[in-house]
């Protein structure tokens, strides 16, 4: 029987290095810049706004790393959860500061990775675009949970920590969100 490996936070080494020398924060920045930017883009639907949010998140994180409470995670990274909590706060502040004008929905599924079969690629892209159009109509918490689960590939526990909910509540939220998507697709089949 194999022994269960000890809990290990994937970013503990990099976080410890950044605490000792802030210039080493760049490793964490490079690793997570796309994830934070992507989440901000799904939330704001505007590239420039997403860039602004990303900039604020990493500047806050750099300044906050010395006080960051590294608890160690059973899976994934405590640092990543902390980074997304900062992102959530920055987004909330931005929304409070200026009432966001509803922009045109971002076509989130425009760039589905291609396959060798162009016809299949087009069909898959259309189907995915349709599903993400339905997601766009969901309440914020359901939409956000799906983005964190499918795009950022966070576990239910991590999403719970980012959104301030229990792991069980997040699972139920995602289940209901996907049921809503299924209802919205109305029995469409590939």
């Amino acid at each position: 029987m194999f022994a269960r490996p000890l809990p290990l936070d994937a970013d503990r080494l990099a976080v410890e290095a950044a605490r000792r020398d802030p210039l080493r924060f760049e490793t964490l920045y490079r690793k997570y810049v796309a994830q934070v930017y992507s989440f901000a883009l799904y939330e704001t639907r505007a590239h420039h706004a997403a860039e602004d949010i990303t900039e604020q998140v990493f500047l806050q994180a750099l300044r906050g790393v010395p006080t960051f409470d590294d608890r160690g995670a059973d899976e994934g990274s405590t640092f990543r959860v902390w980074l997304f909590q900062i992102c959530r706060n920055v987004l909330a502040n931005e929304r409070r500061r200026e009432r966001r004008h509803p922009g045109a929905p971002l076509d989130l599924a425009m760039d589905v990775p291609g396959t060798d079969d162009p016809a299949r690629t087009v069909a898959e892209r259309d189907e995915a675009a349709r599903a993400w159009q339905v997601i766009d109509t969901l309440p914020d918490d359901r939409r956000r949970a799906l983005v964190l689960r499918f795009v950022e590939e966070m576990s239910a526990r991590e999403i719970g920590e980012v959104m301030g909910r229990s792991e069980g509540a997040v699972r139920v939220l995602i289940h209901r969100a996907l049921r809503s998507v299924a209802d919205g697709l109305g029995g469409e089949r590939s």
Partner: protein, 175 residues
């Protein structure tokens, strides 16, 4: 017996973990040849569990996770929704220009920060499998914000170079 919402949510979550962890099939047949995994942890050899409850017995001994997935997704419409959402879940990358500009700003800020002097040393275990394994397992598409602009720039430079070569060759022939 019908599952409660919470049970159905747990089983769906296990199924999503299976898909996002890189399982090749969507509710497909159990794979005896390869080791089925849940978030990278082998589930054969150890005691298979389903939400913490051992599921030894019958077909579940072979692949309890795939079984859980199939149960959770008896509703074909839900399975189809999961498939489409998963296919369309693209991650967006900022433009390289933005990434580098922010990196420079972070370096400048870091240079202005005071180094902590009173923090004692901490022993940190090295990640099993190295740093590469700890990186993101994202399998979806990645769209780079500056890709189109960069492509155009490269095309213009290449075009100008080709024009110069052609004109020089033509001039040499004339002379």
């Amino acid at each position: 017996m019908a599952m409660s919402d919470e049970d159905a949510a747990i089983q769906l979550d296990l199924y999503l973990e299976q898909i996002l962890g890189g399982a090749p099939t969507l509710g497909g047949a159990p794979t005896l040849g390869g080791a089925p995994t849940l978030g990278g942890a082998p589930t054969l050899g150890g005691a298979p569990t389903l939400g913490g409850v051992p599921t030894l017995g019958g077909a579940r001994l072979v692949d309890p996770i795939a079984d859980a997935g199939r149960e959770a997704l008896e509703d074909d419409r839900l399975a189809e929704a999961v498939r489409r959402v998963s296919v369309g879940a693209s991650r967006y990358h900022p433009s390289f220009r933005f990434e580098e500009r922010l990196a420079t700003r972070l370096r400048d800020t870091a240079n202005g920060l005071e180094l902590p002097t009173d923090r004692p040393g901490v022993m940190v275990p090295f990640p099993p499998g190295g740093v590469a394994r700890a990186r993101s397992r994202h399998r979806g598409g990645v769209i780079v914000g500056g890709a189109i602009a960069s492509g155009l720039s490269i095309a213009s430079i290449a075009g100008a170079a080709a024009l110069v070569v052609w004109r020089r060759a033509r001039w040499e022939r004339l002379v």
